[in-house]
């Protein structure tokens, strides 16, 4: 059974803390993504990685960074957590392929982060 695993389901952090959200996939996928989901705003893409050590900004990268040192792991880093980063964070992965060869994305269970 394919799996994308996020390290925590719920997380509470203090303002100003550096926060690491980890995502691991066991499908040997090249592409990995981080989204945040907020009520009324849908899913918004923060960063994605199309291969190891490769990353590209999504639509809302400000305040975030990412790390992809190994193929199976994609980390989202909140450099200095703020209350407006309280959200549901979703990680996804998929095998490469664009256009006609686009493939389905597999999602983790989500991390609900609260910054106080």
């Amino acid at each position: 059974d394919v799996k994308v695993t996020q390290s925590s389901r719920y997380l509470v952090k203090r303002t100003g803390e550096k926060v690491f959200l980890e995502c691991v996939q066991d499908m040997d996928h090249e592409n990995m993504f981080w989204y945040r989901q907020d009520p009324g705003l849908g899913l918004r893409l923060i960063y994605f990685s199309y291969d190891v050590k490769m990353k590209e900004k999504g639509d809302i990268p400000e305040g975030y960074s990412v790390s992809r040192e190994k193929k199976e792991r994609f980390s989202l880093i909140l450099e200095s957590a703020s209350t407006n980063q309280t959200s549901m964070y979703l990680c996804a992965s998929r095998s490469p392929g664009t256009g006609w060869r686009a493939t389905e994305a597999f999602f983790g269970q989500g991390t609900r982060l609260t910054v106080v």
Binding site: F33, G40, L41, L90, T98, A105, F107
Partner: protein, 110 residues
């Protein structure tokens, strides 16, 4: 990359009824995918339809695609309480990125 817009935003039906939700997009695509999200969980892929297909079935799901109108619809027949979820479309073309909208929230009443 482009975002699909799902419509309606919310839908409430009785168990056993059919549920139809729609997705519109702006530019040409290679395929379009539908995903389901149960409350507080990640998204799960339901079905992918390619731009040269007009209709596709998977169990109780029927997806249509009209590229001339740049729209797709997802029909769930004989709805069950377990179908209560949010549904998202992702139109895709020559890009790595999948962009999702705000989804349709479906509530199936027992």
């Amino acid at each position: 990359s482009q975002q699909g817009e799902e419509d309606p935003q919310a839908l409430s039906i009785q168990e056993g009824e059919n549920a139809t939700m729609n997705c519109s997009y702006k530019t040409s695509i290679n395929n379009l995918q539908w995903y389901r999200q149960n409350s507080g969980r990640g998204l799960v892929h339901l079905i992918l339809i390619r731009s040269n297909e007009r209709e596709k079935h998977s169990g109780r799901l029927r997806v249509t695609l009209d590229t001339s109108k740049k729209s797709s619809s997802l029909l769930i027949t004989a709805s069950r309480a377990a179908d209560t979820a949010s549904y998202f479309c992702a139109p895709t073309s020559g890009t790595y990125k999948y962009i999702f909208g705000t989804g349709t929230r479906l509530k199936v009443l027992a």
